[in-house]
Symmetry: C2
Subunit: 189 residues, 2 copies
């Protein structure tokens, strides 16, 4: 694994009840730690456009050719706008790692989807495509990986952590997303 | 100079002709290189509220007590919304360094102020408070410093540069400001 590998980290901005759209923030980090670029795109709250919007943002970026991998905070963005990691990988050619600090409760997610969405089966199919795996470094994190093996995913996560449990590209995307939306960044990923 | 010193870096978002307001972005960096926080506030394009808005943003921040110094890109934000480095220093207790890659053409700035602003004398008084000094590191930069000596300013700038001429807190604030406003970050500070 090259230490200078370019990673794209993605997180969403917080939104309020009644908001139709929300923004997602992506950062390009070299070696997982040196910020080279910032991108933004807009998705629908509880929509189903996050997959295509992420692909479009990457395809239109001047960083595209340097990127080697994508890390996304969580398994959905903008509420239940679930994204398809496999499709993002296949269309961009970049492996995708989703990462959370807590283990996603898939049973609860399924129940919530069933309760609130007529198209819950479609969303459930997307969100349940891969099993969540626990990766133990200094702290445990929970990941899904598409287009990359578990060992390689683990070594990329490891090289991109400076402090704590969360890789820099996701930590920085989260700070920007909350800081720009709320006036000051807050909270854990 | 402690290597872990917390620096606040400030830059403005690009704006379009006719925009009444624009946002400014501030980042808190530890050791000048590790991102700890992101803030945002809004100022008037060509207004005169940047000084007070910067002071207010800092006073309201949970990072306030950790901050040791402020770096600002340029000598005005949001067009000719000139800020008073001396007032920011005196009211927050934090020294201020303004920094540009090119030497500001003060004669041209005075001419422009005279041409476009009835209150040009007030703006000129603020913007011309201190002499610009050239600081030569690997690349030259042009600075004004308030509440701190030239040698100390130089050593803080030096410790906060990773690559190129521009300290990380200003470089990162610039990437965020342009990326969030334009969809993708661009250009030099």
């Amino acid at each position: 694994m090259k230490k200078e590998i370019r990673i794209l980290g993605i997180d969403d901005m917080p939104f309020s009840f009644g908001d139709r759209n929300t923004d997602i923030v992506a950062v390009v980090m070299r070696g997982g730690t040196y910020l080279e670029g910032v991108m933004k795109t807009t998705i629908e709250v509880d929509g189903l456009d996050s997959t295509d919007k992420i692909i479009e943002m990457i395809e239109n970026s001047r960083h595209k050719r340097q990127l080697r991998i994508i890390m996304i905070d969580g398994i959905a963005l903008g509420g239940f706008n679930v994204f398809d990691g496999e499709k993002i990988w296949k269309e961009t050619g970049l492996p995708v790692i989703t990462i959370t600090r807590n283990k996603p409760d898939m049973r609860k997610i399924k129940e919530t989807l069933k309760k609130h969405f007529n198209d819950w089966e479609k969303r459930w199919e997307i969100v349940s495509k891969k099993e969540t795996k626990e990766i133990r470094l200094k702290y445990p994190v929970y990941v899904k990986h598409f287009g990359i093996g578990e060992e390689e995913a683990k070594s990329i996560i490891k090289l991109s952590i400076i402090r704590g449990a969360i890789p820099e590209p996701i930590r920085v995307a989260h700070l920007i997303a909350t800081g720009i939306k709320k006036g000051e960044s807050r909270g854990r990923c």
